[in-house]
């Protein structure tokens, strides 16, 4: 039996990776893929775009799945546990855990008492943890995690804001998939109105 997969020279948006046919036909160019994801997140932002509420996109599996794929790819194999916090933490933690197979917990860095710090799941001394969040709005998180005697291997946020620049520059473990400015640009002109 002969098996051949070819790609027509025309009629395809510049979206598929060249040379990917033999092993993985229909693999999109990674940059294109990421830009489309940014567009879709921006499109799905609720009317109060400035509030960055995540309801618009976390409730759509077509976007949430890709966000989990994107963030899951940055979680090192050494991580024992995922910690999600902040906006839509329960959803994001679940999605990235399903994507990677790594157990997760949900933390509230603003909890008044230590007993309230963990909202879902457990966390144990000595664990290597990967933090995932929509934003980077918890500057003392690393400190309180150090108090739990865990090792933070990475902290991936989905969207950074201009105010997060110092935080991003100060710690190489911290990174964001998209910048606020990039998301706004992706939302097209007019996306800021209403």
């Amino acid at each position: 039996m002969n098996a051949v997969v070819r790609r027509s020279a025309t009629a395809i948006d510049a979206a598929l990776s060249p040379g990917a046919l033999a092993s993985g036909a229909f693999v999109q160019n990674p940059e294109f893929w990421k830009q489309e994801l940014a567009n879709d997140i921006a499109a799905a932002l609720p009317l109060q775009a400035a509030a960055h509420r995540s309801d618009g996109w976390v409730t759509r599996p077509a976007i949430l799945r890709r966000v989990a794929t994107l963030m899951g790819a940055s979680i090192p194999a050494t991580a024992d546990r995922i910690i999600a916090f902040g906006d839509a933490a329960q959803i994001l933690g679940t999605a990235v855990a399903l994507e990677t197979g790594i157990p997760f917990c949900v933390a509230n860095p603003r909890a008044a008492t230590e007993a309230e710090f963990l909202q879902t799941g457990t966390l144990h001394a000595g664990e290597r943890v990967a933090v995932v969040s929509v934003h980077l709005d918890a500057p003392d998180l690393l400190e309180s995690l150090a108090g739990h005697d865990v090792v933070v291997v990475v902290w991936r946020a989905l969207i950074s804001r201009p105010a997060d620049a110092t935080m991003l520059a100060a710690d190489s473990r911290i990174a964001a998939e998209f910048s606020d400015a990039g998301m706004v640009a992706a939302a097209h002109e007019g996306g800021d109105a209403a």
Binding site: M1, N2, A3, V4, V5, R6, R7, S8, A9, T10, A11, I12, D13, A15, L16, L21, G24, A25, F26, V27, Q28, E36, N39, D40, A42, A43, A44, L45, P46, L47, A49, G56, R60, P61, A62, I63, R65, R66, T69, A187, H188, E189, G190, G191, A193, A194
Partner: protein, 425 residues
């Protein structure tokens, strides 16, 4: 134009007239090849005649009409706000599939014409320019690629990119365009600039039966499906049906049948809610009662509202087709012929249209669009939304395609209110 006293948007809405919508649609439906239904193919002289009707109608209303290199006709009504050049737009397409209906695309252009007329005649003041667009060559039936006019408007189309597109008669799309006076060599000049646009809303017939079965007059589209398409060729051995024992056959059609059933099975499992897989074309050779099928070519169209799932599914199908071919000892050749991502339409526009429907007690459904539309391309340039009106029996691309003019008028009223709200936003 705006010298008459304004009676507000509801004054303009009151002028939307089902009879006028009907007249426009009937006028365009007359422009067809002979035969059942409507045949007005992409980049044919008939399509251009339909564009002429649109242009004349808009010129009569006092609008300025331009036709771009890709054949899109764009009529503009200036706004009153100083320095406001980012336009609010609406429109759809005027071409059809072979033996198609009179509403697919035309309904949205008729709505655009009716909105323009009611705005002009009521003297409704609006801040921004309003543009009314008849896109060219939306249907992929002739050249295999859909949304050609809007692809040019979105800046995706290039003269090099369209070079490989040709119809069944071997006429390239570029030749067809040139023969009706368009400029395929300058197709890049048709690209719209984002800063010239504030938003775009297309009205279209649903082409399915969700609205009819739920007795809902309006659909508001929140996502347009993408599609990944392949042609699969299976080659076995053609031989005598009587003389070849079953265990010695290499029957390409039996292998193809297994592939077709696999498509249905995958699309129906619980991980594929929202995926639609279709084998719509299947050619058997030599197509003889007494010869084992030696060669089969079939198409697979994987549509999805989830782009990753769409491609994973397509990939999965391709590898499982190869397993089937191996098991049945037939050769397989797969050609990828198309790949388009789904487009999530901005929540802002979905909410804006829904608010207009709610405010006037018009029931609506938020729904995905399974078909691709010009809006999918336009959403790359500006915030874009879509309004669906019901299709009787869910039929489309056939002569019996039908939407009641009352329902089209209701959809046009929602469209006008939404455009006005967008103008103010």
């Amino acid at each position: 134009m705006t010298s008459k006293p304004s009676i507000g948007v509801e004054g303009a809405v009151a002028l939307i007239d089902a009879n006028r919508l009907e007249q426009f649609i009937e006028r365009i439906a007359e422009i067809t090849e002979a035969g059942p239904g409507v045949t007005r193919l992409a980049y044919s002289p008939l399509e251009r005649r339909a564009h002429d009707v649109f242009r004349n109608r808009m010129c009569e209303l006092g609008l300025t009409v331009t036709v771009d290199a890709a054949g899109n006709s764009i009529a503009e009504l200036p706004g009153v706000a100083e320095g406001s050049s980012d336009a609010v737009g609406t429109g759809s397409h005027l071409d059809s599939v072979p033996s198609g209906g009179r509403f697919d695309g035309i309904a949205g252009v008729a709505a655009a014409v009716e909105v323009a007329r009611s705005v002009v005649e009521s003297g409704l003041p609006h801040r921004r320019p309003w543009r009314f667009v008849a896109f060219a060559a939306e249907e992929g039936a002739r050249f295999g690629q859909a949304c050609n006019g809007s692809r040019a408007a979105s800046g995706v189309a290039t003269s090099a990119g369209i070079a490989g597109l040709y119809d069944n008669g071997g006429i390239t799309m570029a030749e067809a365009m040139a023969s009706v006076g368009l400029r395929p060599d300058r197709i890049d000049t048709a690209a719209w600039a984002s800063e010239d646009w504030h938003g775009f809303i297309e009205l279209h017939v649903e082409q399915g039966n969700v609205l009819e079965t739920s007795r809902t007059p309006i659909g508001i589209v929140d996502v347009i499906s993408g599609s990944s398409r392949v042609m699969v060729e299976l080659v076995g051995t053609a031989s005598h049906t009587g003389a070849t024992p079953m265990h010695l056959r290499r029957d390409a059609l039996v292998a193809a049948a297994e592939c077709v059933l696999l498509c249905e099975q995958i699309a129906q499992n619980s991980q594929h809610r929202g995926t639609r897989i279709t084998v719509g074309k299947l050619d058997v050779e030599p197509s003889s009662i007494t010869t084992i099928p030696g060669r089969v070519i079939f198409s697979v169209d994987v549509r999805d509202i989830d782009g990753d799932r769409q491609r994973t599914t397509a990939r999965d199908l391709l590898s499982r087709f190869q397993v089937i071919a191996k098991e049945r000892d037939v050769d397989i050749d797969i050609q990828i012929i198309g790949d388009t991502s789904p487009a999530i339409l901005p929540t802002r526009l979905v909410d804006l249209i829904a608010a207009q429907a709610r405010a006037h007690g018009v029931p609506y459904r938020i729904m995905p669009s399974g078909a691709s539309h010009d809006t999918q391309q336009i959403s790359k340039v500006t915030s874009a939304g879509m309004i669906f009106v019901p299709s009787q029996g869910g039929l489309s691309h056939v002569p019996d395609e039908w939407t009641s003019y009352q329902e089209l008028a209701l959809g046009t009223q929602v469209l006008l209110r939404a455009l006005y709200a967008l103008d103010l936003a």
